[in-house]
């Protein structure tokens, strides 16, 4: 990377050739980016990544007006909109599952595994009490989901708090463990006897455990209400509670936390457990609100998508909602074009591009081209201050 001075120097010649009185110069300075500015640049990043995806789509799928088709199917039809809501529901929770620990400076990459652990424990609960009344089953499954998700992150949490073991690797490894764990139950004890061919899936959940439909806009499942409620609750806790304050303090640095008398260990532990529990509830919502049986494809990579959403949302809970809805649109578009032979794995390219562009945007947001009076080296020398943070 070039220093601010050389960047400024490079831009100066441009400025001199271009506009304005010859006495004025252009310079690039680095400064703290405001919240709005960071947001703006992240949005530009999202738009750029989407533009790349759209360009690829148009080039690879030989259907006239494919973009229009995708947009019409998604937004202008009732099933399209409903599908959008179904898709967005678990996104809120897996995004929060990453965002809550990220506030404290931890990467929870295990959302996928916690999602399945929650769904698994909820399935176990429902199969254990197949004749219980619906309300009891649903509440019990949601609690089981939270417990399962939290349980699945317990080992990485303990390893992090007591031994400072890198949580990225441990949480990710447990995602891979859960794949085999679920496969064991789906091919063994919970196997659905009448499943077609080699399909691996569990028996169906008792009917009364299905999340009831709430009749808004034709048929939203009540899972969305749970997801939005939990998102709002997390937003409130983060903003107004002591817990939220503590996580902000720890997030701004271990030394700061020690100085402020905040227990780093307890805050780290709690944020990971809450993250795991949220992802687990996400698994239950998908299970009891959409598929009604445990399958290996239950998450459809929702846990991994949560990483991208959390990063793009920054520290904001509103951002999580915005990004979840946006990603739901992308995913639903992906489902539309899958008919035309675009694989669902392709969405990972988009996630990757989003993450790369977001991180580049974050750097770019710190730079600003300013005009300064001729000979005023002041801004340039003042700029480098804390370059690279």
């Amino acid at each position: 990377m070039r220093s601010a001075a050389t960047l400024g120097g490079g831009a100066t010649s441009l400025g001199a050739v271009g506009t304005g009185p010859a006495r004025r110069r252009w310079a690039v300075v680095r400064e703290e980016a405001s919240e709005t500015r960071s947001w703006l640049y992240r949005l530009v990043a999202v738009v750029l990544a989407l533009a790349i995806a759209a360009a690829y789509l148009v080039a690879s799928v030989h259907v006239p007006d494919v973009l229009g088709l995708v947009l019409r199917t998604t937004f202008a039809t009732q099933p399209g909109l409903q599908e959008l809501v179904v898709l967005a529901t678990p996104f809120f929770l897996t995004a929060l599952a990453v965002q809550v620990p990220l506030r404290v400076g931890l990467w929870n990459i295990g959302g996928e595994g916690q999602f399945f652990a929650g769904a698994w424990l909820a399935t176990a609960f429902a199969f254990a009490l197949p004749h219980a009344p619906g309300a009891l089953l649903i509440v019990g499954m949601l609690l089981a989901g939270a417990a399962g998700g939290a349980l699945w992150v317990t080992i990485p949490m303990l390893a992090k708090t007591f031994l400072n073991v890198n949580e990225i690797i441990t949480t990710l490894m447990l995602n891979l463990v859960v794949v085999s764990w679920v496969a064991y139950w789906l091919t063994g004890p919970w196997r659905y006897a009448s499943s077609q061919g080699g399909t691996i899936e569990s028996r169906f959940l008792p009917v009364q455990s299905h999340l009831p439909l709430v009749h808004l806009a034709g048929g939203l499942d009540s899972g969305l209400l749970v997801a939005v409620g939990l998102t709002a609750a997390v937003g409130a806790v983060v903003r107004y509670s002591v817990l939220g304050y503590r996580s902000r303090v720890v997030g701004s640095g271990r030394d700061v936390a020690a100085y402020a008398g905040v227990s780093v260990r307890r805050t780290v532990a709690l944020s990971l457990l809450v993250g795991g529990a949220l992802a687990g509830v996400g698994g239950v919502l998908q299970l009891a609100g959409n598929s009604y049986q445990l399958t290996p494809g239950l998450s459809n990579n929702t846990g991994y998508l949560g990483i991208a959403m959390a990063v793009l949302a920054g520290g904001s809970v509103v951002g999580v909602i915005v990004m979840s809805c946006l990603l739901a649109v992308i995913m639903s578009a992906g489902q539309v074009v899958q008919i035309y032979g675009v694989s669902s794995q392709d969405v990972f390219i988009l996630i990757g591009l989003l993450l790369l562009m977001a991180t580049v945007a974050e750097v770019v947001a710190h730079y600003r081209v300013v005009r300064q009076p001729a000979g005023g080296g002041a801004a340039v020398t003042a700029a480098p201050g804390d370059l690279g943070r």
């Binding site: 390893a159 031994l163 490894m173 990063v311 996630i351 690279g388």
Partner: protein, 308 residues
């Protein structure tokens, strides 16, 4: 006895991609760069290796192209943002992982489950390949196995005993001092070793798909890139200890095959978990034993501060 020999040889073979990837990652981490996207890197190497091998019929060319593709991929998707623009290191790492996951599938889709016809050159170690038992254990492997085994020794010597190695460690410990104090080209060497990381990670992926598995399949790496990260941490950033870690995980990766062959009364799904459970266990055990005072380069993962 025969089962043991087969298992041992298969473990070495399965451990070799881990060893190559871990060695490359160790070099990048030595100069302070934490690339958590090895998984995506290996996938790009794997798909390139298989596609080239299927089109040319030459597995050696496939391995070479896999390595080169890995280097090119990592330089564009990791070195460019991290070294070129000064972004943080975790997010581009995720980017490398996810783009690799999606892009490799996109490229490999039409080659799905097409078996690679020719095998890579198996090298018999002169002398050893005549002795029974010994021949099966150590004497007959495709050439990348020997390369992967020898490389850590060479690197340990380089890092410990040469001026260049000491410079690299200085970059990883304190890039500012290395740059301004000792006049070492921090960004140049970091770029070079990201390239080397890419070469070895790409070769690891190509070796896995072309030689070990023999075909391209979705997500053929199945978390091996992250296991390689665990191997690096377990090694304490000492190249030769990567050898032990990689072969142990190689053994865990094929445990389900052994269990099947010996008809163990354990569901294979539980054996499939073992490499990942093992990775978590080994990280915890290592941290408990070293009490967190690892030999990690001090500037690992830190953004490069720039002189004004």
């Amino acid at each position: 006895m025969h089962t043991f020999e087969l298992y041992f040889a298969a473990a070495i073979l399965a451990g070799t991609p881990l060893l190559l990837a871990a060695t490359g990652e160790l070099l990048a981490e030595t100069v302070g760069l934490l690339n958590i996207g090895i998984e995506g890197l290996m996938l790009m190497g794997a798909v390139t290796g298989v596609v080239v091998t299927l089109h040319t019929g030459d597995p050696e060319l496939g391995l070479l192209c896999g390595a080169l593709a890995g280097a090119a991929y990592l330089l564009v998707f990791y070195a460019l943002p991290v070294i070129g623009l000064g972004t943080d290191q975790v997010l581009p790492g995720f980017g490398v992982w996810f783009v690799g996951l999606g892009l490799s599938q996109l490229i490999g889709n039409s080659y799905q489950n097409t078996t690679v016809p020719a095998q890579s050159t198996v090298v018999g170690l002169p002398g050893l390949d005549r002795i029974p038992v010994v021949k099966e254990l150590v004497g007959q492997y495709p050439w990348p196995v020997y390369l992967a085994f020898v490389l850590p020794f060479a690197l340990a010597w380089m890092l410990g005993h040469t001026r260049h190695g000491r410079n690299l460690r200085a970059i990883g410990e304190d890039p500012e001092a290395a740059s301004s104090g000792a006049g070492i080209g921090v960004r140049r060497w970091r770029t070079v070793y990201v390239g080397v990381n890419g070469l070895l990670g790409g070769l690891a992926g190509a070796m896995l798909a072309v030689v070990v598995v023999g075909e391209w399949g979705t997500d053929v790496t199945a978390g091996r890139g992250f296991i390689a990260l665990a191997v690096v941490i377990f090694s304490g950033w000492r190249p030769m200890r990567c050898i032990v870690g990689a072969y142990v995980f190689g053994g865990l990766l094929i445990l389900a095959d052994l269990g099947g062959a010996l008809a163990w009364p354990v569901p294979s799904d539980f054996l499939d978990m073992m490499p990942y459970v093992g990775a978590v266990a080994i990280l915890i055990a290592w941290a408990a034993q070293s009490r967190g005072r690892g030999a990690a380069p001090s500037a690992l993962g830190a953004r490069l501060k720039r002189a004004g």
